[in-house]
Symmetry: C2
């Protein structure tokens, strides 16, 4: 608490101009004073999640990126292709702060008891604008990290842990008994594997490469299906028949994968069918698309009858649907198992200014397995 | 009742042999005696619905059809393409009766009071095997037609009327306030138009050709969007914005249409959006595919955010979901409005043997608007 709090501080902003130019830069803004129910947090760790990249770079083509500004105040410019401008209409001309989640130290607190109780504590935060030196939030939204947990430990306490837990919750509430996950070697995928193992839920992991399959098998995963293997569909059908999984969460969100999963689910179900129905199995088969790793159009031939659904899925609307009490139970589990079940791993820790370095952008924008970056806005800054 | 009931009678059967040959013929089978709770119905009218054609011809290529047998006992053979045989696995070698619904005269009744009460009545039936001279069913499944209604009037009392009513019911129960329908000039589409007009529900009709648009406008339809018009998507977006429709029932079930509808729904919603969200509108957008008029793979680029679903939909599983009481209410409405709201129109009435005439097959298998056929198994048969 001895550090002096500056009058103004840095925050990363992303702007798409009406002519299609993206500009990402560090804005200097007044540091707010917390109101009664609020706390001011010095942000010390914020992950670069796939879900942040969409807002950070919009639909810009990073192949056109130009890096300017100074070492302390870098600026990235890039062009949004004409064809993608339609999807940018809602944000044109708005300088938007970025960063869904983070963690840091509470350095100032409002007058309320709830706010005062957090002073000096390390807390996890959710709510946008986390790529910033300071962030002012309502005390009630903070998750106090357990003894011994650093800001880096708590930086990813919301998005991935709640997403993985909500997937299992959704599976149970909709009456499914096992689930499928794609891009399964990701941080999120490994977390889901640990939850399912702990809860005794069968998980079918779909990965894109042999080394990802090896990684998951090394962690003890029982059902791992590699899309690059020639027998992918028959291996997947076997795994679906063995587990009875009829719900999938797909991070790729494009191409033919969702349809292939539904086709294999139907093939697995038809192994035990007793009577012919030209409408296919009556068991409902569900694929939720929760990411967009694959930008290709979705395409599938319907080989799986009529009892199926493909839809978008987002964790926070889902938590809203199940209500505050159920959500609180999930959050408590995250806090209790922060350094075990919900541990995240990062390839590198970078500063706010580093976020706009060409090599860093190239690395984290690739969204490859094991290449997740952690931003530390407290790093490389003069403490006055 | 004076007619003598023969010991055996004709029933249309469809068989796909393991080598991929389809064979459709008239089988002669013993006429069953009704048990206590059953009635025997002389079938006098059964429509050829799109939902019947799938079972009737399987995945056979009718371009390969060969017509044989005699005038009284015709036989149709055709070949199922190698690539489609996977979808036929469940029915190989089974000689299957066809015909989802029909109507006719109760000519014999079991001992129960419910069965006896139906003797001499004209009833509508559901439950398969309706392309037959006689059909034995449980008394409780019969819908007694109102005074003055013929078997032809009641032949389509189940599939189309309940489908149209269930669509409106589904719209209401899921919290939508208007709906979209494709292939909207069909018998079903015209019925849905009449229901929606009566109920004060806004309906957006999508058709494929100008003459279909003219037909619906002639019936008083307010929102008609013609896919062949160059401004189809902007007209559809206008109609969606005007009505607030966020649920669609799509009979085509293939190609790009479902994705285009979702894209236009999102565009309509974004007209009134107040804040940018990179996940798109939070209003849930739903497309149900209930038919397969378009055999092309489903394809779409996601331009509509994360709050959407595309799924299969069938009327009878949906009625099961809403329960017996709600379903009964819908059936009562059908009986009460059989000759008005739920009237069907047929291009021709044909006999069982006519069903396998080349010109008839060519006409009804094309599934074109205004070309629905009614089968009268009582027609052209010697009454002994």
């Amino acid at each position: 608490m001895a550090d002096k709090i500056p009058a103004s501080a840095l925050q990363l902003h992303s702007l798409v101009k009406p002519d299609g130019e993206l500009e990402v830069r560090l804005a200097e803004l007044p540091v707010p004073s917390p109101r009664d129910h609020e706390v001011l947090v010095r942000v010390q760790a914020a992950p670069l999640n796939p879900s942040d990249l969409g807002l950070l770079f919009g639909a810009a083509d990073l192949g056109t990126a130009r890096y300017g500004g100074t070492a302390d105040r870098p600026v990235l410019n890039a062009q949004v292709p004409e064809t993608a401008m339609k999807s940018m209409q809602g944000r044109l001309g708005q300088s938007l702060p970025v960063g869904n989640e983070g963690a840091g130290l509470v350095v100032r607190a409002g007058a309320s008891a709830a706010a005062q109780a957090l002073l000096g504590k390390t807390v996890a935060l959710l709510g946008g604008a986390m790529y910033a030196q300071y962030r002012c939030v309502a005390a009630e939204t903070c998750l106090v990290l357990p003894e011994g947990a650093s800001a880096a430990d708590g930086a990813s306490a919301f998005v991935n842990p709640l997403t993985a837990l909500a997937m299992v919750e959704n599976m149970r509430r909709d009456g499914h008994r096992a689930l499928v996950h794609t891009a399964a070697a990701s941080n999120l995928g490994q977390m889901l594997h640990r939850i399912c193992r702990q809860d005794g839920v069968a998980l079918v992991n779909i990965v894109r490469r042999p080394e990802q399959a090896a990684l998951l098998r090394g962690l003890g995963a029982q059902y791992v299906c590699d899309m690059s293997a020639p027998d992918f569909e028959s291996a997947l059908t076997d795994a679906l028949a063995a587990t009875g999984a009829t719900i999938a969460f797909d991070a790729t969100g494009g191409g033919r994968l969702a349809g292939r999963i539904l086709g294999c689910m139907e093939a697995a179900l038809s192994r035990t069918a007793v009577e012919y129905s030209r409408y296919g199995s009556t068991t409902h088969k569900q694929v939720f698309l929760y990411g967009r790793l694959d930008a290709a159009p979705i395409e599938f031939a319907n080989t799986f009858g009529m009892a199926w659904d493909i839809g978008g899925w987002l964790v926070f609307p889902y938590l809203q649907k199940i209500g505050a009490e159920a959500t609180q139970a999930l959050k408590q589990r995250v806090a209790a198992e922060l350094k075990t079940t919900f541990a995240s791993h990062y390839a590198a820790e970078i500063s706010l200014a580093d976020m706009l370095r060409p090599d860093a952008v190239a690395a984290y924008a690739a969204r490859t397995t094991g290449n997740k970056y952690l931003v530390n806005p407290d790093r490389g800054m003069a403490r006055s």
